[in-house]
């Protein structure tokens, strides 16, 4: 599916660009985004290393373990296929928590670690497991509780109540995550 969407985005974009005389913009963006992919990745290296380092300390001190014991029931319900107390549990939880508090780069670092652990349980390499799919579906439904950047924009543009959106946003995020979990469970069918 991503194969088709990827092709269609490029195909429609280039053809439409030619038709509307916008081809120069298309040419520019191809060169720019290829470079952007590299700069973005390099920008991530430092932050990912930092979080993996800090979490390695939390892992050795037992802090991570205490936190995952606390929230284990949540993981058990969402990811029944992960063996109890498997490291994947911990990293998934860390990713969720970091996401909720809006620590994007930390969430990315822990999420990548979670995927690595989930892949160690994968009997068919190269093919997503139910746990991986569910993990991503939840991530892509948004988990952040307080949208700080938006509050800042609202404040900058002189809103009478910049934080007024917090309540409805939390409600909307919770609902969208619940919807995502349900849809994810429906779509995964009986297959592993």
């Amino acid at each position: 599916m991503l194969n088709t969407i990827w092709f269609l985005m490029i195909f429609i974009g280039i053809v439409y660009g030619i038709m509307t005389g916008n081809i120069e913009a298309v040419n520019d963006v191809i060169l720019r985004e290829a470079g952007e992919g590299v700069t973005f990745t390099i920008g991530l290296i430092g932050i990912i290393s930092l979080w993996l380092g800090v979490m390695s300390v939390a892992e050795k001190s037992g802090l991570m373990n205490s936190i995952s014991n606390l929230f284990r029931p949540v993981v058990r319900i969402l990811f029944p296929q992960i063996p109890r107390a498997h490291p994947a549990e911990r990293w998934i939880l860390m990713n969720f928590i970091a996401n909720m508090f809006g620590m994007g780069s930390g969430a990315t670092a822990f999420g990548l670690k979670a995927m690595k652990e989930l892949d160690s349980l994968n009997p068919h390499k190269g093919r997503a497991t139910n746990s991986m799919a569910m993990f991503l579906i939840i991530n892509m439904s948004a988990l952040q509780l307080i949208p700080l950047t938006i509050i800042k924009i609202r404040y900058d543009y002189g809103s009478n109540n910049p934080t007024g959106i917090v309540g409805p946003t939390i409600l909307a995020t919770t609902l969208s995550t619940m919807i995502a979990v349900i849809i994810g469970k429906i779509f995964e069918g009986g297959k592993s």
Binding site: S56, G102, D119, A128, A133, M140, S141, T169
Partner: protein, 173 residues
């Protein structure tokens, strides 16, 4: 207050984690290095996937094909009760986080932060995520090519969430 929390959360978290480790007698410096070693590899592994996704999104956006799609969809979404002003946001949000934020800023600037479009856009932006980037990043990192139902499920739940979010926004406005 919120700003202080947001600026302080990372340093304070690091302080707690390292402090806890130190008290527990962990060789925190060695542990940090051991963990951080993985960072480089992890980041480099996802690079080809990010380049692929960035290029496709860039072409689709800058060729104005995205706007064309938005115009085609407008009559349908109007019928469904989706406020016309936030339609560009709905279209862009799943493919680009910074693009989505730019649109929210435009909407707030044009209609005002306390207008209904500004209100819906703010809530919608905060309760959704960039789908294509996240998927390429995470699946790419472990070389998963067969994504199974992931994208379909995500797009369907995004579609449903748009309506629940608009409903919630109306309720609280």
């Amino acid at each position: 207050m919120i700003e202080i929390i947001s600026i302080g959360i990372v340093p304070i978290l690091i302080l707690i984690i390292l402090g806890h480790g130190y008290i527990k007698g962990v060789d925190i410096y060695a542990a940090f290095i051991e963990g951080a070693k993985e960072g480089f590899q992890t980041a480099i592994r996802i690079m080809p996937y990010l380049i692929a996704v960035f290029i496709a999104i860039g072409i689709f956006r800058d060729s104005s094909a995205l706007e064309m799609f938005t115009d085609i969809l407008r009559p349908i979404t109007n019928l469904l009760g989706i406020p016309e002003e936030v339609l560009p946001l709905i279209m862009v949000r799943p493919i680009s986080g910074s693009g989505g934020l730019g649109i929210v800023r435009d909407i707030i600037e044009y209609y005002g932060p306390d207008s209904f479009p500004g209100w819906v856009a703010s809530i919608m932006m905060g309760s959704s995520e960039t789908i294509f980037y996240t998927m390429a990043l995470y699946f790419g990192s472990v070389g998963i090519e067969d994504h199974r139902h992931t994208l379909k499920a995500s797009l369907v739940s995004y579609g449903i969430s748009i309506f629940t979010t608009i409903f919630i926004s109306r309720l609280f406005y």
